[in-house]
């Protein structure tokens, strides 16, 4: 299944950097060596095995943008599932950026009226912490006003220097995955039987959070941003493992009041299980994951089968 995703925004706003970090295993520091993107860079990213994200990283220089909106209009804006528009928060010409954005959204509305739009207010690390929330709200209001599309627009604040990048991309990719409700149901069932505190499902290569389920809990978890933080941390660890010429396969962490296990679940996903009862032996949880593996493989195979029939 192919889904076309457009990545647009002004020149230098951070599109190629984000793409490299999320999909190409770059570390934030490595993005310094990226130059300006010339015209459109196409990449086909395999996600969850059977989903191909057709990523169009469009160069942001004025000459290219004019081209996209004029002569290449149909070619670029047709059959789009998701448009990701990146705004550099430090830009001094926000009105001009907004104008270009509106033109793109209009072109999109003509050619792919059902597309979803995500606006990433990027480089938030350059803004003072106290000012971030209000600045983001301002931008969000302006964008909401200007986007006249059926599905509206989702705005997210991001920076490559912390986990907000993963949060944004997880949300984006989440809308593209077809069988989320089934996955979530099974994950919840697994969490209940294994008596886990929390269970998280990650995509294999990008480590983006696909879904999560919690076992029986009384209180709300104090940190709603824990998933993207974990994505960030584990991905860094995975990259450092590959720098040492070894493959990351599984991970077990035993502390005095909890234990966490990260292991392969299906060929395209990792699962993280957090157990809050230290009396439960590691072997039990690992065995449960092994048993669950078969069921999740079956789910994935069923989906693949039904898609091939379409």
């Amino acid at each position: 299944m192919r889904k076309k995703v457009l990545l647009m925004g002004k020149s230098g706003s951070g599109k190629s950097s984000m793409r490299s970090i999320v999909f190409s295993n770059y570390v934030a520091k490595d993005t310094r060596r990226l130059g300006a993107t010339i015209d459109v860079e196409h990449s086909h990213v395999r996600f969850l095995g059977n989903l191909v994200l057709n990523l169009w990283d469009c160069g942001g220089q004025d000459a290219f943008m004019e081209n996209y909106l004029a002569s290449q209009r149909d070619h670029i804006f047709r059959n789009v599932e998701v448009l990701i528009y990146v705004f550099d928060v430090e830009s001094r010409e926000f009105d001009r950026d907004l104008h270009t954005y509106t033109q793109c959204v209009d072109a999109l509305a003509q050619n792919s009226p059902d597309a979803q739009v995500f606006c990433l207010i990027h480089k938030m690390d350059l803004v003072q912490e106290e000012a971030r929330e209000s600045l983001f709200q301002d931008r969000q209001n302006a964008l909401r006003e200007r986007t006249r599309l059926r599905k509206g627009v989702t705005c997210l604040a991001t920076t490559i220097w912390d986990e907000t990048l993963y949060k944004a991309w997880s949300s984006i990719v989440y809308t593209l995955i077809p069988n989320i409700p089934t996955l979530e149901r099974h994950l919840a069932h697994f969490a209940e039987i294994a008596e886990a505190e929390e269970v998280v499902l990650f995509e294999r290569t990008t480590f983006l959070v696909i879904s999560h389920a919690a076992g029986a809990q009384d209180a709300e978890h104090p940190d709603p941003h824990r998933f993207e933080k974990i994505s960030n941390i584990v991905k860094q660890f995975k990259l450092s493992c590959s720098k040492m010429q070894s493959q990351f396969n599984a991970f077990e962490l035993r502390a005095h009041n909890f234990s966490a296990f990260i292991d392969v679940l299906t060929p395209n996903t990792y699962i993280m299980v957090v157990m809050s009862d230290p009396a439960v032996q590691s072997a039990t949880t690992l065995m449960n994951i092994a048993t669950a593996r078969k069921y999740f493989d079956k789910i994935e195979a069923n989906d693949r089968g039904s898609k091939d029939q379409r």
Binding site: I193, A194, M287
Partner: protein
């Protein structure tokens, strides 16, 4: 799948004045669940249980090899080999169990390995029993063993009966449900 709390509650039921510990572990030595008296709350108790599981599985594996090759009798100085078919019930248990002076081994009917091993030591008795899950329907694809550790006053018969009961219950509980799809 294994439910940790239920497993522990189940193992605790086997404990008594003479039975001091109950362990559930894999044939390769990984501890899955344990219960012991007095109720353990420390990491040291968990470590001890893991050591016990590792040792018990090592003992088991030695005798399992013998059970499969069917030459248990020879090794223990008996005339007949241990692979003669016989039922595992209480009446016939002596016909396929060779009781040595300080160890007894019950061999499986089809020569498919050992069924139970009992070790009588100075300070107590160890009863290791195989959990017999039908291999095609086994939800947990590994050989599981149950071990009961009895103190000085423990009788082999009671230990065997309790361990058998535990093993039978687990064998039923760990069978995969017959579902068409998840």
């Amino acid at each position: 799948m294994l439910k940790p709390k239920r497993l522990q509650a189940l193992l605790e039921q086997s404990l008594s004045t003479t039975v001091s510990s109950a362990l559930l572990f894999t044939a390769s030595g990984s501890l899955l669940a344990y219960a012991s008296k007095p109720k353990p709350t420390t990491a040291a108790a968990a470590k001890e249980a893991r050591t016990q599981a590792a040792l018990a599985s090592a003992i088991w594996q030695d005798y399992d090899v013998l059970g499969r090759s069917g030459v248990v009798g020879e090794v223990l100085g008996e005339q007949e080999s241990g692979s003669r078919p016989g039922s595992g019930s209480s009446g016939g248990s002596e016909s396929n169990g060779i009781a040595g002076r300080w160890r007894s081994v019950g061999a499986d009917e089809h020569g498919a390995g050992t069924r139970w091993v009992c070790v009588e030591a100075e300070m107590g008795t160890l009863m290791i029993v195989k959990v017999d899950v039908d291999s095609e329907r086994n939800a947990v694809h590994e050989q599981l063993l149950v071990c009961l550790i009895g103190g000085k006053g423990a009788e082999e018969g009671i230990l065997k009966a309790k361990a058998d009961g535990l093993g039978r219950y687990l064998a039923e509980a760990l069978v995969e449900p017959e579902t068409n799809g998840p």
